[in-house]
């Protein structure tokens, strides 16, 4: 292998720049061989090294009183009390899911689940944030449908077999995701505070043990693939996508958790992106030690694999651990019980180097710290994000007629972003482990009870590419605000966050500007709402044939609450008052350009996202949490996509199909009044509107009683004039049957 000459072409094929190559030569004090070049190329890929984003990620708040572990480990950890902690993170698997939707999404789930149980935490929840091209596009619709079907089946296949409930998430359709779908998977696990494990090697002479599936030729260069734009040739990269085996992962989970209990494990890390390379050098670097391995001992699925292939393989369901010397047998015994291979492949050394042998010969020798932590760091030039047309189209002003309004509501309820995603989430087992208090589409956030502590947690994922496209900074802030609002709406206190930053090519200054602005906006909002970022993922180069996606920062935020029946979306009883916490709000034509109404009815995108007043948002959320805590709300639902009218309709889709009559006192044009998406607003149905209003007043929040719930039908008036009256069954049919029509 060492006979392969390192040419400028070969270096370029490894997506290393001449400058990066010079740095490699400096570190080694010589030219690298082919295997070493491969090792550097994956560790220094955008995917593994965050070389374009690291500088800016530092701006994010990462500390908080509940944070036990911030960014830098396999997952973030927070203290939930009662002696328990939760570990959680979100990861993208966008590129593989485009090339091979089923396996791409399945292994995306597998990867993030391993990140969680590597820390000693048993996964108890998964949520997904998905973006696809439109299903009704005459040209690309069929392919988008195939990608959607494959991705959903892949997530279902993996999570269902593994035995973790998939509690929902979000699923959005825009033409910009045609050639570049987004598959972001969030996972969360739980363990006792003293049982947390870290991915750190220690103890010179301790054995390095490989466990789990054998190594094959699958997934070689997956990390580099995820760090480049797509071209026509990308389809040929299908062999770069790994194949998932959820049953193997289940065995690995149980065996790892059991082996950790023995006390014989010093450190452990999964083999995800960049496989054996990443796990060895990162564990060595974190522990400031060296690691020496012999590749002949690595269990292999195929014959004749080269050192390059073994080191770069991304075969799934593998773990690397360091055991206490002399206690190996305790570890082996557990893995044997679960029918898994566990093999000593090397030792921890004191020289800080990753030394790789093959047939006894050293085939690579690289200092761990330089490889893992001293990847190039770029302050890429950033100008200003691209600007969308500011002016609303003339067509908007023709839209205010009553018949148009009456028609717009069912159309919006059937819009791909808003309609029920039942077809998707019914394929997920969202109840396994019997902790699910609120699963998909039941409440504004998913809610899980924690049997171990007698408390509950709430989870929300949110991102809006259209908002972020119009203003990356405000879009990111809105995503944080919406997540926190979702949690507050079910009565949970938001406490910590994880983020997934999906952007285009950072080498283009206007794309880099989107990234920088989004991170800065997110940092402001997370600081303001006291939800530190404990980890996350950056996915760049989301472009196909030069077409970039909307900048899509996705937030995952976790909240804490008491165990109780969930505060769900639908109205429960007729004759209750409907209170709009935060008031009807306001919106001008420019801020209306990012709404679902603009997208689905006007078919255009312009202006700016809805205006966010963070102070007001926080007060509304505080008031909502108090209303929930005092048991005053029978139902609660925040206003988001599709605005007030869509939220009201969704509240009517309960088992009893309880309807509503509301009358709005506002000067806004009807279509803006009904469909604008200003944040900081929550619909509550209550038998005690005075008490709700009193709480709102304490918090300095507007609370308008807009109407009452009724036995049937939804009617919306503006100062006495009926804007629309609908049969709930008709609206519900539009909402329920739109997705796979």
């Amino acid at each position: 292998m060492s006979t392969i000459a390192i040419t400028p072409d070969l270096i370029a094929q490894h997506q290393l720049t001449p400058g990066e190559y010079r740095k490699i030569v400096d570190i080694l004090g010589r030219e690298p061989n082919y295997t070493e070049l491969g090792i550097f190329s994956v560790m220094w890929s955008e995917h593994c090294s965050y070389k374009s984003s690291r500088l800016h990620l530092k701006k994010l708040p990462t500390r908080g009183k509940l944070v036990v572990q911030g960014p830098g480990e396999n997952a973030g950890i927070i203290d939930i009390g009662g002696g328990y902690v939760i570990a959680f993170k979100i990861e993208s698997h966008n590129h593989p899911s485009f090339i091979e939707p089923f396996q791409g999404a399945a292994t995306g789930s597998g990867g993030i689940l391993r990140d969680i149980f590597t820390m000693g935490a048993r996964p108890i929840a998964v949520l997904d944030s998905l973006r696809f091209g439109r299903l009704d596009d005459p040209k690309t619709g069929a392919r988008n449908r195939r990608i959607l079907t494959g991705v959903v089946a892949g997530i279902a296949h993996y999570g269902n077999c593994f035995g973790v409930p998939t509690l929902g998430g979000e699923c959005i359709f825009e033409p910009c995701y045609d050639g570049n779908p987004l598959v972001n998977v969030f996972a969360l696990g739980i363990c006792r505070k003293e049982d947390v494990f870290y991915a750190k090697a220690a103890g010179v002479g301790n054995p390095v043990i490989y466990v789990g599936a054998r190594t094959g030729r699958d997934g070689i260069h997956g990390a580099s693939m995820a760090s480049a734009e797509f071209t026509e040739e990308s389809k040929q990269k299908r062999p770069n996508v790994q194949v998932g085996d959820p049953f193997m992962e289940k065995l690995l989970l149980e065996a790892c958790i059991e082996a950790m209990q023995t006390g014989a494990i010093v450190g452990i890390q999964d083999m995800g992106a960049a496989g054996l390379t990443c796990s060895t050098c990162e564990m060595g670097s974190r522990g400031e030690v060296g690691i020496e391995i012999e590749l002949d001992k690595v269990p292999q699925r195929e014959t004749g694999m080269t050192p390059y292939e073994i080191m770069l393989s991304e075969s799934q369901e593998r773990m690397l651990l360091v055991a206490a010397s002399g206690r190996e047998q305790e570890v082996y015994q557990v893995f044997r019980k679960w029918g898994l291979e566990a093999v000593e492949i090397g030792k921890v050394t004191g020289d800080g180097r990753l030394r790789v042998r093959h047939h006894g010969q050293v085939v690579a020798e690289i200092p761990n710290r330089e490889l893992a932590d001293e990847a190039p760091l770029y302050d890429r030039p950033h100008t200003a994000p691209p600007v969308a047309p500011a002016a609303p189209p003339a067509a908007l002003f023709a839209g205010g007629e009553a018949p148009v309004i009456a028609d717009a509501l069912p159309r919006l309820l059937a819009a791909p972003d808003i309609c029920s995603k039942r077809w998707v989430w019914e394929q997920y087992d969202y109840q396994v482990r019997t902790n699910t208090l609120a699963g998909p589409e039941r409440a504004d956030a998913a809610i899980l009870r924690i049997k171990e502590t007698g408390t509950a947690i709430a989870l929300s994922l949110d991102g809006n590419g259209r908002y972020a496209h119009l203003s990356p900074r405000e879009g990111a802030q809105l995503a944080v605000a919406e997540c926190c609002r979702n949690l507050s709406t079910v009565g949970a206190q938001p406490v910590a966050a994880t983020n997934c930053l999906n952007f285009g090519n950072p080498e283009r200054p206007e794309i880099m500007a989107q990234l920088v602005e989004a991170i800065e906006g997110m940092a402001d909002a997370c600081r303001f709402f006291e939800t530190p970022i404990t980890g996350g993922n950056v996915s760049l180069y989301n472009e196909t044939l030069g077409e970039g996606i909307y900048p899509t920062p996705v937030m995952g935020i976790v909240g804490l609450l008491k165990i109780a029946a969930p505060l769900a979306i639908p109205f429960v009883n007729a004759g209750r008052s409907i209170v709009l916490l935060g008031g009807v709000g306001t919106c001008d034509d420019v801020r209306f350009g990012s709404t679902e109404y603009a997208k689905e009815i006007v078919h255009q995108l312009w202006g700016l996202p809805p205006a966010l007043d963070m102070e007001k948002e926080k007060r509304v959320q505080e008031a909502m949490r108090q209303v929930a805590a005092e048991g005053l709300a029978e139902s609660a639902h925040d206003l988001s996509d599709g605005g007030l009218a869509v939220a009201l309709a969704e509240c009517c889709f309960g088992a009893g199909q309880i309807g509503a009559q509301v009358d709005l006192d506002s000067d806004l044009r009807p279509e803006i009044l009904l469909f604008h998406e200003a944040p900081s607003r929550i619909l509550v149905s209550t038998a005690n509107p005075k008490a709700v209003a009193a709480i709102a007043e304490q918090h300095g929040v507007e609370a308008v009683i807009i109407g009452k719930t009724f036995e049937s039908g939804l009617e919306i008036r503006q100062r006495g004039n009926t804007l629309g009256a609908w049969d709930i069954a008709v609206l519900r049919s539009a909402y329920e049957n739109a997705l796979m029509r």
Partner: protein, 230 residues
């Protein structure tokens, strides 16, 4: 009464079944590992949901050969109560303890949904505490739950009053809306819906607890009086 919950390496509803009988029903329970050749001193055994050995082949096709299944066969032959839930039902069918087969759902995808079941017979140790015709709200979560058998077998099941539960809104294409059946001796039951997920008030329904309550009552009734008393 002591419940045994079988644990195959790919079982993932084992802890849920354990929690339901132990915490919600208040009875002792223990896990039984798949390579055990004995069930110990349990009074009833539950084969829980999951993916026994990955089930990449037909669901339950490998599990029927596991050592613990020989013990389950003996236990059933001696009249012990055996409840198979979801994957457990699939395994009981593969092991020949129950007739018929469970094939891919009509819609070809997994369905996770709370739905309604009708109790078709109370003449069984699994439904004795329920009412005939009672409608239960119990969730399903399966990809291969379409009950299939030849006409003669179906007629026989009905003639012998061995259909225990029927779907009100058949989700998967099961013949004659069958959701659960008994063996001829009525001590082995398989059902696709998950009673352990409807055993806790927080989960939105406690209708499934009736199955475990029935088993408890049946075991207590079968014991000599002296044994039941402390």
């Amino acid at each position: 009464m002591k419940f045994g919950v079988i644990v195959f390496p790919g079982s993932n509803c084992d802890h849920d079944a354990f929690y339901a009988v132990n915490h919600n029903l208040g009875q002792p329970a223990e896990f039984i590992w798949h390579d055990s050749r004995s069930l110990g001193d349990v009074d009833a055994v539950i084969l829980p949901g999951g993916f026994s050995y990955g089930d990449y082949l037909r669901c339950g096709a490998i599990a029927r050969f596991s050592p613990v299944m020989q013990a389950v066969q003996r236990f059933a032959a001696e009249g012990g109560l055996v409840l198979g839930i979801c994957n457990g039902f699939q395994i009981l069918v593969e092991a020949g303890l129950l007739p018929g087969a469970l094939i891919r759902n009509r819609g070809l995808t997994l369905i996770c949904r709370e739905l309604r079941l009708r109790v078709s017979t109370t003449h069984s140790p699994f439904t004795g505490a329920l009412r005939d015709g009672q409608v239960l709200r119990v969730p399903i979560a399966h990809g291969e739950g379409c009950y299939f058998a030849d006409e003669r077998t179906l007629d026989e099941l009905e003639a012998e009053d061995r259909v225990v539960f029927r779907y009100l809104d058949n989700p998967n294409g099961s013949l004659r809306d069958i959701a659960g059946i008994l063996n001829r001796e009525r001590n082995v039951m398989g059902m696709m819906p998950h009673p352990e997920r409807a055993s806790d008030p927080l989960m939105g329904s406690t209708d499934g607890l009736g199955v475990f309550q029935s088993m408890l009552a049946a075991v207590q009734a079968a014991r000599p009086v002296a044994e039941v008393r402390p």
